[in-house]
């Protein structure tokens, strides 16, 4: 089998287009609720801290072999039993998160365009498409991500630029020192959501790093992503105000519903929401890949793709069990995802990586 590795530059669009999914789901509503009208600045302000945090994690991994993913690092550092247990713990969370995204994707389509539908058809379709993509080559996915990111960019630009005339200055201004504390909450929320992408460290073994350009692709794509999200928040809050944005499940849907593109087309929300499925596709595929990679390492197999179907089946079943209706889904978001995500990616993960670093240093392991 040909080696299926991609460069970090190729990997960035996969993460960026995938991250759109949780960001567009959580940030407008929760951000407006927590940070008020200043929320549109939060993604921009979070670029640097998130970048530094990711670089810190990469530094903690510096002494580990570059062709090993996080699961292999855990096993080599903590031993077979504990290492596998830790990797499997991450697998459980990642699989749950994938099922949560699938369920959310279905719910979004129902609450915006197909009110008479049930979620399971959508969930099954998304799962099937993502499973097939995850079973394919990583290089293909990376190439597709580049195209998809472009598509999302065009769609966003079209909607947001057309909506500029709907913005009211008093909805986004003034920003004063009174907004610092809420803005800080907004930055934390953004960082929390962005943390989901850290699961990609499990695919570290499939990504080659350019030693000379370390961090540059990350900073570039992170900045681009946050700029787009900031602009989206600016337009959404600018159109409807923070209070109203905070009350809506899908505030961006309102913008696309009310907008008239180039003065020619309106009622484009169905097209926009369908394009939005791409972001879920990228995110769920990425999570499937992570889950399959963890299982491959834990069960010592050569190829990860055969682990994708059971992972997808588990995620689909999980999406059915996660929430039976929109109310349960809301509770899962508020009381599980928003609390567990930072615990996993901003507490447990850095602790484990610090332990890896210390242990490697003590045993003077060099690769």
């Amino acid at each position: 089998m040909k080696e299926d590795r991609i460069s970090s530059r190729q990997f960035m669009p996969v993460i960026a287009s995938g991250l759109f999914s949780p960001m567009m789901r959580a940030l407008p509503r929760m951000g407006a609720e927590n940070a008020g009208k200043a929320m549109y600045l939060a993604p921009l302000l979070s670029v640097l801290p998130v970048f530094i945090y990711i670089r810190l994690l990469c530094w903690l991994l510096e002494e580990c072999p570059p062709d090993k993913g996080l699961a292999e690092v855990f096993i080599s550092c903590f031993g077979k039993t504990l290492g596998r247990a830790l990797a499997l713990a991450f697998f459980v969370w990642t699989a749950f998160y994938a099922s949560y995204i699938i369920r959310n994707c279905a719910e979004r389509l129902i609450s915006t365009i197909y009110p008479q539908s049930g979620p399971w058809g959508f969930a099954a379709a998304v799962t099937a498409v993502c499973a097939l993509a995850a079973m394919g080559r990583l290089q293909t996915l990376a190439r597709a991500a580049g195209i998809f990111f472009g598509l999302i960019f065009i769609m966003l630009a079209l909607v947001l630029l057309s909506a500029l005339t709907m913005i009211k200055a008093e909805n986004v201004l003034p920003i004063s020192c009174l907004d610092i504390a809420p803005l800080f909450k907004g930055v934390l929320l953004t960082a929390n959501v962005a943390g989901t992408a850290l699961s990609a460290l499990f695919l570290r073994g499939s990504v080659t790093l350019n030693e000379k350009r370390r961090g540059k692709p990350l900073l570039k794509w992170l900045s681009l992503l946050m700029l787009l999200v900031s602009f989206t928040l600016f337009v959404t809050i600018g159109c409807y105000g923070a209070k109203m944005t905070a009350r809506e499940q899908q505030p961006f849907f309102l913008v696309s519903r009310d907008v008239r593109v180039l003065g020619l087309f309106d009622r484009i929300e169905a097209a926009v929401m369908t394009t939005w499925v791409i972001t879920d596709f990228m995110m769920v595929t990425l999570l499937f890949l992570v889950c399959a990679e963890v299982l491959r390492v834990c069960f010592v197999r050569k190829e990860r793709k055969w682990f994708v179907p059971p992972v997808a089946a588990a995620a689909l079943a999980g999406s059915a069990l996660t929430a039976k209706n929109a109310f349960e889904l809301w509770h899962v978001t508020e009381f599980i995802v928003q609390k567990a995500n930072p615990a996993v990616y901003y507490a447990l993960l850095p602790l484990l990586l610090a332990a890896v670093k210390i242990k490697n240093k003590k045993s003077k392991k060099r690769y």
Binding site: Y114, Q116, G121, F122, A124, A125, A128, M135, K243, A270
Partner: protein
């Protein structure tokens, strides 16, 4: 394997297409749609009556439907039995609310709009003064036009004549959410209310409806509505007829206006505020012996204009203050100037607004009389020499 995968992929993706499932709201054939463009809602707190009218499409007749139920959604659903086509609300352009329904509760309407995925926030809203929404929706418009077109013409004329700004459902919902009050343009159906100002449109502007706490609190008259337009910054143009003080008259066209609110804080407390009105106008028509190139005469006209505008602005402000809420968005403008100091009064702003001492000042100037130097009667055969 690749071909099988591709086939499976396409098959799975096809599940996302809307046409794959035939349900009431998911599958839509354009030929089978009854596109509702005007929605009228009446209610008394117990029963809701919804009237709906389609637009005029080619030679097809305008369809008007009406139904009553306990809720708006129930009434709309019940309408489906009146037509073989699928009733479709995604293209509703105007929502009319009867006066009684507005006096009862506006939150029910907004609750329905917010939950309903098809009706846009950009839909215009009017309150039918001295009448019901049904009166307006079922208005006999003849064969060549429809209610929706008439309402679109009304919106345009109200905007151009400075009668009222037509707010959208989204703007109304936002204002009620943020400040517990909102302005909604009011209209009258000709024949049911004051005849003056009614025109061939079948509708006439009737000022603003002031909504507070989800209920209709008051109506403005047309003069106050002009004042509200000025205070809210929506006044684009207006023609004002004024006296020249010598028995003659002039028609002045307002070409620009701006109102600024200047807060005066004393010991951290908002002590008073200045309302500065700046207005620029041109002479449109002169029935007077005034020499408009004389500074005294032109300032006399400006004073007359100021008297009219002051009555409008101060009347509008008095109305809003007596209704007990900042309908004109003065608080947001004060906050924009100094958010930190304004934060002290933000919590109870509506109460503060109602009792805050206000000082009005006017900067009114008449800038030109277009391409003429003197009226025909007084200046025939003469040429004015101007430095």
């Amino acid at each position: 394997m690749k071909k099988v995968s591709l086939a499976l992929l396409l098959l799975a993706a096809a599940l996302l297409f809307s046409g794959c499932r035939q349900g009431r709201d998911n599958y839509r054939d354009i030929e089978r749609l009854e596109l509702i463009q005007t929605l009228g809602i009446d209610g008394d707190g117990e029963t809701v009556t919804v009237s709906a009218a389609t637009g005029k499409r080619g030679d097809s007749a305008v369809i008007v439907l009406k139904n009553s139920a306990r809720t708006i959604a129930g009434a709309l659903d019940g309408m489906q039995t009146f037509t073989e086509k699928d009733i479709y609300f995604s293209h509703v352009a105007v929502c009319l609310l009867g006066q009684k329904a507005a006096e009862t509760d506006l939150y029910y309407l907004l609750d329905f709009i917010e939950r309903e995925v098809s009706v846009r926030y950009g839909t215009y809203i009017y309150i039918v003064r001295n009448g019901t929404a049904e009166d307006a929706v079922t208005l006999d418009t003849g064969e060549n036009t429809c209610v929706t077109d008439l309402l679109a013409a009304l919106e345009k004329s109200m905007r151009l004549l400075g009668d009222a700004h037509t707010y959208t459902l989204g703007e109304t919902a936002q204002a009620m959410l943020e400040n517990d009050c909102a302005l909604v343009a009011a209209l009258e159906v000709s024949g049911t209310g004051v005849e003056e100002g009614a025109n061939e449109l079948g509708f006439s502007p009737a000022g603003y409806a002031l909504i507070k706490g989800g209920r209709l609190a008051a109506f403005s008259d047309r003069e106050q509505a002009h004042g509200i337009m000025l205070l809210t910054g929506y006044l684009q143009s207006d023609t004002v007829e004024v006296s020249d003080g010598r028995g003659g008259a002039a028609s002045l066209q307002v070409t620009g206006s701006r109102v600024s609110f200047v807060p005066h804080y004393e010991d951290g407390r908002l002590g008073r505020a200045e309302v500065k009105v700046k207005l620029r106008a041109s002479i449109d028509e002169l029935h007077s012996e005034l020499d408009v190139y004389s500074p005294e005469d032109i300032s006399r006209l400006a004073e007359s204009l100021q008297e009219v505008e002051a009555e409008r602005v101060e009347g509008a402000m008095a109305l809003c203050r007596s209704a007990g809420a900042d309908f004109i968005g003065m608080g947001k403008k004060l906050e924009m100037r100094d958010p930190v100091r304004f934060s002290a009064v933000k919590e109870n702003w509506n109460e503060t607004f109602s009792s805050l001492p206000l000082e009005f000042s006017y900067d009114i100037a008449i800038e030109r009389t277009y391409n003429i130097t003197s009226p025909l009667e007084s200046g025939a055969g003469e040429t004015h020499e101007r430095g």
